[in-house]
Amino acid sequence: MFRYLPLVLKNAWRNKRRTTLTVASIGISMCLLGVMIAMFHAFYLSNPSPEQALRLVTRNRVSFTVFIPLSYRDQIEHVPGVRAVTVANWFGGVYKDDRDPKNNFARFAIEPEKLFRIYGEFRMPEDQQKAFIRDRTGCIVGRDLANLFHFQVGDRLHIVGSVFPGDYEFTIRGIFDSPRNSEIMYFNTEYMEQSMPENRRGNVIMYYILIDDPSHAGRISNAIDALFANATNQTKTETAQAFGVAFLALLGNIKMFLIGISAAVMFTILLVSANTMAMSARERVREVGILKTLGFSPGSILGMILGEACAISIAGGAIGYLISTQLLRLVIKSPFGGYMPPMSVFQMPVALTCVFIAAAIGAMSSFVPAMGASRTTIVAALRSTD
């Protein structure tokens, strides 16, 4: 089979313009497919990063728009395997003008002394961490957010509360680096708590929990939820990764969306490739006759045409995959990327899937013309005038 490889490649490159256009067309469709596969992989199949695997999120069972009491924290802390717990309140609020989407960055009220323990991957100078813990009205911002607004340590931020009412004036005490999109701001939950009227204190949206071992995640989640099974506010505890997926699912049926578009793209590639192979096979009927006269078996002719189609679609698939890694880089850096599980741009399983799909599509698309060519009789083939 590989004996014919030079011939196959030569045939593939015979009509340069057609091959280029086909490869370009497949490549462009394939880059979409690459992004879809990478996202699907990240959402539903990938293992979380070591830091992420150690984090759980507890929220109200009904919805994270319904509060759970602050008193739960101490109880959660005593569950075996729990290393640290922090309140994590999605704050909302309005910065400057909320009609500009840029101003709607994520803001969380947390406990400063615990944040860096639970988010081991965050990097911030020691003195900034200390300053953040010391100043009750302090806040820290992610590098991406700081770059977006040109924030510097010592700057002041004015935010008007919405879910949690009040006027808040923060001082930036530090800028942290994160491997993920970090258009995010953290501040001391104590500041918020003290600013609220008496009857609205003690409300928590989520707890972030650090556990001792990823393999205990299931047991610890169940143990926490069992604590409050008979309380008015029942909880739901899940891994940070599962929480992220559930959050995104609120936007719509992500799985359906990914699968639907991927199917449409794959079918398009199949058609493009089949069209090219049909055109190229039609031009070469007489040539096939000559090959047969020379003693090439129907099987090897079948293999040559299939191989040609595979070569073209694999080239398209490879180019498409390379473009998709660049697209993925943009997706990860977009605000949307903050909700996604952390994922690296290059992943072996994704790359292999793309190439495999390309090869399979190539083989399928050329099967009909290849069968036709291998079955024609020498006389009929040589007589063809097309």
Binding site: V66, L250, T268, N275
Partner: protein, 387 residues
């Protein structure tokens, strides 16, 4: 003189395999675009019938949604007696004080369950909503732990039927009826008695929002302005219509991702169309030469091939519309600004289909441009000698 149209048509028919495959490729691209447009249009139309132009919604200052808003009973007393509010059947102002929360229903299609908005409202609140009517059972009674569910919920969840119980807050609630909001977003809500729901949530004095009916649209606008200016009341008022219109933004992520996908697919398809047209030009080189000998100009050859390409992609556009048609009327749901679901149906409107066909023709014309130019530029003698 231009080359007859039938010439292009016949050429497409002769090479039917290639024509169909190229057209189907374009059709899939168009179908993806149409699906996205139909989704957004369906959501828009649901939200646009949800807001009554006479209704003024009152939230706490700084709140964007009813769920995070807090509205005090004392504020309601002031609101109720503002001028410009229509009177109800009982002679009282048409004003409703409402409490909003979230409940969870274990879903048929989603294991972790779906969230729905629960609304506690007084009888005036039902009277005010002119688009809402009961389709089964009866309305809830005041002082009872009873609810009515929206039709969009009852249709999708077997456990949300009259006679069954749903669970939220501190316990079970009996379903006594199903209501329909004539395609509005309220069909995805669960309604119960204001006092029962608010006391269950321990929010008797601090509910979520106020809603009033103005006597006419002009008064409604004036009412919004006067409420927003009222420093003592300290509320944020808006037309209910505007409130729902703002929620179309929840489809923004899907819309923009979908459009990017459709455009990338269109680039791929236009390359495929280019391929097909180059092959057509190559196979018909002698014909092109003959046409030139007969006296057709370079321009008419260029136009003829462009027309053929547009025809090919227009066919793809039509096929795409046919692929997207079955989507029409399919119900789906999307998360709204209170993180609960709003059900709506895909809307494949004629306008959307026209957009799809124009999109297809445009991408086909771009793909056909270079091959057509190549055909037009051929020297007569070399063209006749080719093939």
């Amino acid at each position: 003189m231009s080359i007859p149209f039938a010439y292009n048509l016949r050429n497409l028919v002769v090479r039917k395999t290639t024509t169909i495959m190229t057209a189907l490729g374009i059709a899939l691209t168009v179908a993806v675009l149409l699906a996205i447009l139909a989704l957004v249009s369906g959501l828009r139309s649901t939200l646009s019938v949800s807001g009554d132009p006479l209704h003024v919604l009152v939230l706490r200052k700084g709140s964007d949604s009813e769920l995070v808003s807090v509205f005090l009973r004392s504020q309601f007393q002031d609101l109720k007696f503002k001028s410009g509010i229509a009177l109800g059947r009982d002679g009282q102002p048409l004003a409703s004080m409402e409490v909003v929360t979230i409940m969870i229903l274990e879903g048929a299609d989603r294991s972790e369950g779906s969230n729905f908005t629960v609304r506690g409202l007084p009888p005036a609140g039902i009277e005010m909503r002119r688009n809402v009517h009961l389709v089964r059972g009866r309305w809830f009674q005041q002082g009872q732990r009873e609810v009515v569910v929206g039709k969009a919920i009852a249709d999708r969840f077997p456990q949300a039927q009259v006679g069954k119980k749903v669970r939220f807050g501190r316990g079970d609630w009996e379903i006594v009826g199903v209501f329909d909001a004539s395609g509005g977003a309220q069909s995805s809500e669960v309604w119960g008695d204001l006092f029962q729901v608010s006391s269950d949530l321990q929010r008797v004095d601090a509910v979520s929002s106020g809603l009033v009916t103005a006597t006419d649209p002009v008064t409604a606008k004036a009412l919004v302005a006067s409420l927003n200016d009222d420093q003592r009341l300290g509320v944020k008022a808006m037309l209910e219509k505007d409130y729902y219109d703002q929620q179309t933004s929840s489809a923004k992520p899907i819309e923009s991702v979908g459009l990017i996908v459709a455009i990338i697919m269109a680039i791929g398809s236009s390359f495929a169309a280019m391929n097909t047209m180059y092959a057509a030009v190559a196979r018909r080189a002698r014909e092109v030469g003959t046409l030139r000998v007969l006296g057709f100009s370079k321009g008419s050859i260029l136009i003829s091939f462009l027309v053929e390409s547009a025809l090919l992609s227009g066919l793809g556009g039509l096929l795409g519309c046919m692929l997207a048609m079955p989507l029409n009327g399919i119900t789906t749901a999307i998360g709204n600004n209170t993180f609960s679901e709003t059900a709506f149906a895909f809307h494949v409107t004629p306008q959307i289909m026209l957009t799809g066909i124009i999109f297809a023709v445009a991408l086909g014309s771009v793909g056909g441009l270079f091959p057509a130019r190549m055909a037009a530029r051929k020297q007569i003698l070399t063209a006749l000698r080719e093939g």
